[in-house]
Every structure is written in structure tokens, then in C-alpha cells.
């Protein structure tokens, strides 16, 4: 039973355009959500997070939106840059330590 789902295994976007990565979850107890970015042969790197008491969090080019009623979150990257090409994982937690990760979306930003 996959509690966190990323239904798009891959996404290609032109440089300068917006990238939108989506994530759905099933457990209404989740109260904290995170996005991680992963390059090949490296560990995941924290990107941005959001608490369930908010519906939006912004950090530079990265914005995360949370829709609790739909149990859906999305990561917007604008403008997209070639260096953003990586695998993006969303993760959810209802304790401060136990993350449930999605299967990842591979983003390719085309120059």
C-alpha cells in the first residue's frame, strides 16, 4: 500500500519554463511534507518543506503547494534551469523522523 505516490516517472521541460512536479498521499495523519532532489551517485538533498498548517511555502525559484482536501502537493520550479535536472522525491511524515517517500520523478530541463 503506497501512501505517497508520484504518478509521473519523468518530465521534460524547456529551460526558462515552469516545472510542476506532483505528489499524492493517502494518510490524513501526515502533517509535514518535504521535497528532496537527487543527483546520480549522491544522496538526496533537502529542497523545501511545508507544514500541514500552511498551503504554500516559497524559497527562491521553488514553491510547494499543499491541498489538504485533495491530499495533493506540488513543487513548482520557475524558471527551470538545466542544473535542476535530477530525480525529485516527495516525502511525508506524521512524526518528526519517519519519512514515507514517493517513487520519484525524473526531471529533465532542456537547454
Amino acid at each position: 500500500d503506497q501512501q505517497v505516490k508520484q504518478n509521473s516517472p519523468s518530465l521534460s521541460v524547456q529551460e526558462g519554463r515552469i516545472s510542476i512536479l506532483n505528489c499524492d498521499y493517502t494518510n490524513s495523519m501526515f502533517d509535514y511534507f518535504l521535497w528532496y532532489k537527487k543527483y546520480p551517485a549522491e544522496g538526496p538533498t533537502f529542497l523545501i518543506s511545508i507544514s500541514s498548517i500552511k498551503d504554500k511555502n516559497e524559497d527562491g525559484r521553488f514553491t510547494v503547494f499543499l491541498n489538504k482536501s485533495a491530499k495533493h502537493l506540488s513543487l513548482h520550479i520557475v524558471p527551470s534551469q538545466p542544473g535542476d535536472s535530477a530525480v525529485y522525491f516527495c516525502a511525508a511524515s506524521h512524526s518528526f523522523y519517519k519519512y514515507i517517500f514517493g517513487t520519484g520523478t525524473r526531471l529533465k530541463v532542456l537547454a
Partner: protein, 113 residues
């Protein structure tokens, strides 16, 4: 300062061998986590330490898996009698409560032949 380091980076084991994977967390981080990442999947939680205490080991797949952190810093994940299904990348992460942010190491890729 240095990030989370893991060794070895790659390990090939014959089925039935025991392996030990090491994690050096960020200095001062009291929380330490182990994850298993199978090919094409996201990381899956294995176990969690706060200092030397193992507070959650619910994700360990079988009693062949054992983790320790005896002095509250370096941790070792041991897998006994390895099986082919143990082939995966094993990730270690550390954090400093109350932050939710976990800092990951580069992982150890284990291949069981």
C-alpha cells in the same frame, strides 16, 4: 563542516556472506536514520537512533538486519547471510531535532550475487 559519509560506497557480496555498512553522521547530530532504496523506488525507512538508543526498528525487513550506534555517533548496519533481495542502495541520514530536515549520505550500493 563535513556532511554525512558512508563506507564502503560499493559492496559486492556472495549470497550467504555477512556485510557491515558504516555511517558517519554530521558532528553533533543526535538523530540517525537508515533507509533502503531499491532500484526505481524511493528510500524506505529501516531504523532510527536518538544518540545511542535505537527508538524505532520497525522497518528492518528481517532478523538478518541489525543496526547499532554504541557511542551515539558512528553507526553500523549489519546484514547477515545476505540474499539477492538485499541488493539495494543503503542510505544513512542524520538530523538535529527539532528540525525535520534530514541530511543524507551518498549511500552504499550493495550487490548480492
Amino acid at each position: 563542516g563535513a556532511g554525512v559519509s558512508q563506507s564502503p560506497r560499493y559492496k559486492v557480496a556472495k549470497r550467504g556472506q555477512d556485510v557491515a555498512l558504516r555511517c558517519d553522521p554530521i558532528s553533533g547530530h543526535v538523530s540517525l536514520f537508515w533507509y533502503q532504496q531499491a532500484l526505481g523506488q524511493g528510500p524506505e525507512f529501516l531504523t532510527y537512533f536518538q544518540n545511542e538508543a535505537q527508538l524505532d526498528k520497525s522497518g528492518l525487513p528481517s532478523d538478518r538486519f541489525f543496526a547499532e550506534r554504541p557511542e551515539g555517533s558512528v553507526s553500523t548496519l549489519k546484514i547477515q547471510r545476505t540474499q539477492q533481495e538485499d541488493s539495494a542502495v543503503y542510505l544513512c541520514a542524520s538530523s538535529l531535532p527539532p528540525s525535520y530536515e534530514q541530511y543524507f549520505g551518498p549511500g552504499t550500493r550493495l550487490t548480492v550475487t
